[in-house]
């Protein structure tokens, strides 16, 4: 008997390890020969831990599992109180276009055999038969843009590194996924690590780089463990070797290291301070050598592009946002988790149809899109289609495609203050607008909270200075949540002195 139960952090946080242990004990007590596969998560966080068992060749789901539900897995499955039916037939799964996440939740993350059986390594094999320029062209033609948030065309970055002169070049994967509401990198690394390894190996071929690093944040212990194990398996099998090898490195709790130049400094063993650009990391990156720095999802999208061709990927999406995007729906949400689909759904479709609104049952007041540096969107802007340019046109950004839902009990002034406070805590200190501006921002918002309306022009001016004068997105984008809160929720900022006192 084979049972799948995710090792994903979502499942672990909801009691998955206890359920897994109970399954083993129950099987033993019943004398059942058990094969327990610890897969990745399908992305339906509200159903974790989600157990799966094959019935007539189709995987059926049972969740969210508690210890009391374990013995039922060994009895009449149709009568199981948590029976969900075929997993692939659930509405959440049916509506998706899973390209990058096709194998996540399906296969055993550390079985190279299952990876291969589900289309893995086809892209790498194809790339091996191509020239560097051909691989770069394929990725450029796919329209793939940096999924970390900046949206820079991946192929163009690769071309720069590929054509740069240098004995030693590097592929660095940015797995410092620190934005609240984002967990796609984590889920990919925990659920299908070989996809990232394959993507990096292809990048190595395209750019003439023989060494790769994955910089994973320390807050992701499960992803670190799975990635380390996967690298050993890949090396053993010859997928990694002298032609391209990689190391897993662990961050140390600094949000700013998600910025690519701070990440490179951290990787070199320095303070994670942002570097001025130019020089571009593509030309002078890790150790001053030509370096590709790509987000996990950018690199993990490359194998399917190489396997199915640029045109297949490019066919999905809208405008200049091509392919698919793993939406990460979070916060006060009824149905939260990861939902991969083509660009182009409206924010309202995502919030109302897919996410089902707030778990409190109260109206959605605001959605923060793109993490702590993203803008708060009110319902009036819910017709905005999900795409890089479309969100920029509304003074927002899609970032790493995380969406946090807030209900109508939320105080937007408090959220604006938190954005400034977070920036103050995490600022690397290199540039003045971010280092000093964030602290002054907290103070100015406190004045507003006390009913001092004269602080508003100062705050607006400060945000402008931070936006234009900061060295990186931390200081430069903190004004997005602050200004969007002020613009769209003015009532929360108009506090009378009497009321405040």
């Amino acid at each position: 008997m084979r049972i799948w139960l995710p090792l994903d952090s979502f499942a672990q946080a909801m009691g998955g390890e206890e359920v897994a242990a109970a399954i083993v004990v129950e099987a033993k007590a019943r004398g059942v020969q058990l094969q327990l596969t610890r897969n990745g998560s399908r992305g339906m966080a509200w159903l974790e831990p989600l157990a799966e068992i094959e019935v007539g060749g189709v995987r059926h789901g049972f969740g969210p599992m508690t210890l009391a539900d374990v013995s039922g897995l060994f009895g009449d499955l149709a009568a199981h109180p948590k029976a969900l039916g075929p997993v692939e037939e659930l509405d959440w799964m049916k509506g998706q276009t899973r390209l990058t996440f096709a194998r996540v939740g399906v296969i055993d993350p550390l079985s190279l055999e299952e990876y291969r059986a589900h289309g893995g390594l086809v892209g790498l094999d194809r790339a091996k038969a191509m020239t560097k320029a051909q691989i770069v062209a394929e990725v450029t033609d796919s329209g793939l843009r940096g999924r970390g948030g900046a949206g820079f065309p991946t192929g163009i970055k690769w071309k720069t590194v590929s054509e740069a002169a240098g004995e030693q070049k590097y592929i660095v994967c940015n797995a410092d996924e620190g934005d609240s509401a984002t967990f796609a990198d984590r889920m990919l690394m925990e659920g299908d690590p070989f996809t990232l390894i394959e993507g990096m190996a292809i990048a190595g071929l395209a750019c003439g780089a023989t060494k790769g690093y994955v910089y994973i944040r320390s807050e992701y212990p499960v992803a670190i463990r799975v990635m380390n194990d996967a690298v050993l398996v890949a090396r053993e099998a010859g997928v990694l070797g002298p032609q391209f090898d990689m190391e897993i490195r662990v961050g140390a709790g600094a949000y700013v290291c998600g910025e690519e130049t701070a990440l490179l400094n951290s990787l070199e063993g320095k303070r994670g301070v942002v570097r001025a650009k130019p020089p571009l990391p593509a030309l002078q990156g890790f150790m001053g050598r030509p370096t590709v720095v790509n987000n996990v999802i950018s690199l993990a999208s490359v194998p399917v592009i190489m396997a199915k061709g640029a045109a297949h990927y490019k066919d999905f999406g809208l405008g200049r946002s091509r392919g698919t995007i793993p939406l990460q729906i979070a916060g006060n949400v009824k149905f939260g988790g990861l939902y991969e689909c083509a660009f182009g759904l409206t924010l309202g479709e995502i919030v109302d149809k897919i996410a089902g609104g707030c778990f409190t049952g109260r109206p959605v007041k605001a959605v923060q899109v793109g993490g702590p540096l993203g803008a708060y969107f009110p319902r009036a802007l819910f017709d905005t289609p999900f795409g890089y340019e479309e969100f920029a046109a509304k003074d927002g950004l899609i970032g790493h495609a995380g969406l946090t839902l807030f209900d109508d009990s939320t105080d937007m002034l408090a959220m604006a203050r938190f954005a400034m406070e977070f920036c103050a805590i995490e600022s690397c200190g290199k540039c003045t607008p971010c280092r000093i501006g964030s602290t002054r921002g907290v103070e100015t918002l406190d004045r507003l909270a006390r009913g001092d309306a004269s602080a508003m022009p100062i705050l607006t001016d400060l945000c402008n200075t931070m936006k234009l004068g900061s060295l990186c997105a931390l200081g430069g984008f903190t004004p997005y949540p602050v200004m969007s809160a002020i613009t769209h929720f003015p009532d929360d900022f108009a506090r009378s002195k009497e009321a405040a006192e």
């Binding site: 909801m14 966080a45 620190g178 509401a181 600094a254 890790f286």
Partner: protein, 156 residues
Amino acid sequence: MLDSDAQTDRIAEILDAHLGLEGPLLPILHAIQHAFGYVPDSAIPQIAAALTISKAEVHGVISFYHDFRDKPAGRHVIKICRAEACQAAFGNSVADRAKQKLGIDWHETTPDGAVTLEPVFCLGLCACGPAAMIDGKLVGMLTPKSVEKLIDEVVK
């Protein structure tokens, strides 16, 4: 507690094991903290000498990162997420209750040395918040009540 010779020897071993890496300082600091629970001040000159950098540079790196401690933590470490998605799910009320129950604020340790309370900005559990990490174990969908219960279990 190791005596100072044993500590020096253990750090020398760690340094030896990592010197072949490109950019070895963070892996070294993680390994030292893993071995001792913190990065002792006395390790700084030893690291600086091995990497031929200044003591100030080593100190600068240690103090930059939130993860590295310059003194031991309590016997248990509770990290509660303070980021937006957990706030949207009422994480602040969970944090407030934890502080009240333990009688300490962020970054403090209870007087009996049992528990250190730390904020964390995102554990990637944003669709099942509020989230926390208790001695390395992840927990989600916390409530003020459940966090109190977890604290009771940890300190008993």
